[in-house]
Symmetry: C2
Subunit: 201 residues, 2 copies
Amino acid sequence: MSHLGPDQTRTKILLAAAAEIHRQGFQAASIAHILADTGLTKGALYHHFPSKQALGLAVVDEVVLIGLEARLLTPLREADEPLDTLLAYMDSRIHVMTDDAFKLGCPLNNLVQEMSLVDDEFKAHLDHILQTWQAVIEHTLIRGQEQHRIRGDVDCNAAALFIVSAWEGCWGMAKNRQSAHTFRLCMTQLQQFVLSLAPRA
Amino acid sequence: MSHLGPDQTRTKILLAAAAEIHRQGFQAASIAHILADTGLTKGALYHHFPSKQALGLAVVDEVVLIGLEARLLTPLREADEPLDTLLAYMDSRIHVMTDDAFKLGCPLNNLVQEMSLVDDEFKAHLDHILQTWQAVIEHTLIRGQEQHRIRGDVDCNAAALFIVSAWEGCWGMAKNRQSAHTFRLCMTQLQQFVLSLAPRA
DNA sequence: AAAGATTCATACCGGTTGGTATCTAGAGAG
DNA sequence: CTCTCTAGATACCAACCGGTATGAATCTTT
C-alpha cells in the first residue's frame, strides 16, 4: 500500500498541522485531528517530528515565514519603488481578500498572541519573523526618504514598528468582526498613515 | 471555619480566574489552578458558576469591561475636551506603565484573538466591548470636529476603528517583545496618527 | 540476495481535563 | 428546637491529551 515517499508525507503532515493550528491555535491543536486529516498515524508523525513543539516550530519556519517572504518581503526587497510596492500590496489585501480569509485571522498574529509568553522557543522564532518584517518595512521607508517620497524627519524605525503592529491589529479586529469590510476600512486608514509620512505637497 | 460570605468568595474566584486567564489564556486556564490560588474547591466554584465558559464570560463582563469603563470610557464620555483627555490617557499609558504590565499582554486583546472564532458567546461579549470602545472613540473624534480640532473630511468611524485596532496591535507587539520601550515607541506613533487628523496649522 | 536502515502502523501509558454526585456545616425562619 | 435552604468540601468519572515502545513493511546498500 501506497508509500508516497518520506518528504511528501512530511509536508502533508506539515500542511495539515498548519491548518489545524490556524483553526484552533497551537495549544488547542490536537495531534489526533491532524492525523485524522492526513489519514496517517502517530508513528508517521513522531518519526518526522520529535515533539508537538517541534512540529509547531516547523510550521512557523517553513509555512508562515516562507509564505510571508514569498508574498511580501522578497518583492519589497527587489522593488525599484518599494514604497509603491508596499502601498500596492496593501491595496491588493484590501480589495482581493474575501470574508473567509479573515475568519481564522492572521496565522502569524494568532501564534504571537498565544505563544509568545507561553514558550520561549516559539517567542524567538515568531519574534524573528516580526523583526525581519519590521526591518524590511523600515528599509522601504528609508529608501522612500532617499527618493524624497518620505519626509526626512520621520523616525523610520518607529514608523515601521507601528505599521507592523497596526497591520496585525487590523487583522485582529477583522477576525473578531468576521468581516472583510472591517479589514478594508481599517487597512485603508493604515494606508492613510503611510501617506501622512510624505512631504506636504 | 471561616465562611466569608458568598459574594466575597464569588469575587475571589472571579479575580483568581481573571489572573489565570490573563496568564494562560482561557482554554489553557486550569480550574484546578484557579482553585489552588483561592484555596477553595470545585464545590465552591461550580456552585457560583455553572461552567468554565460561564466563569470566563463573567470575567469578560465584570472584570475586563468594567475596568475599561472605569479607566477610559467614562472619563472620555464626561470630558469637556475629550480629544485632550484621549491624548492624555495615551500619554499616561506611554509614560507610566512598567515592563511587567506588558509581559502578559492586553487582557481584552488576548481573549479576542484566542476566543473569537472558538466560541460564539465569547465573540459576542468581546465584540460588545470593542464596539462600545470604538463608539466612544468615534464620539470623541466627532466632538473634536465640532471643536474644530479635527478636520471635517475625516471619517470618524473608520478612524476610530483604526485607533482601537492599532491600539491592540501595539499591545500585541509589546507583549511579544516583552518591552515597555516597544509599546512607548508604537503608541507614540498612534498619537501621531491622531494628531495627523487635526487641521493643518 | 543478504543485511541494515527508513518509514510508518498499532497498541498502550500516565497525567490532566472539565464536570458531577454526594455529603456536611451553618444560617435564617417558623 | 426543628426544618429548610444555601455554601462549600470530597471523591469520583469518562474523555482526551502528548508521548513511547514495539513491530511490520519497504527501500537502500553491499
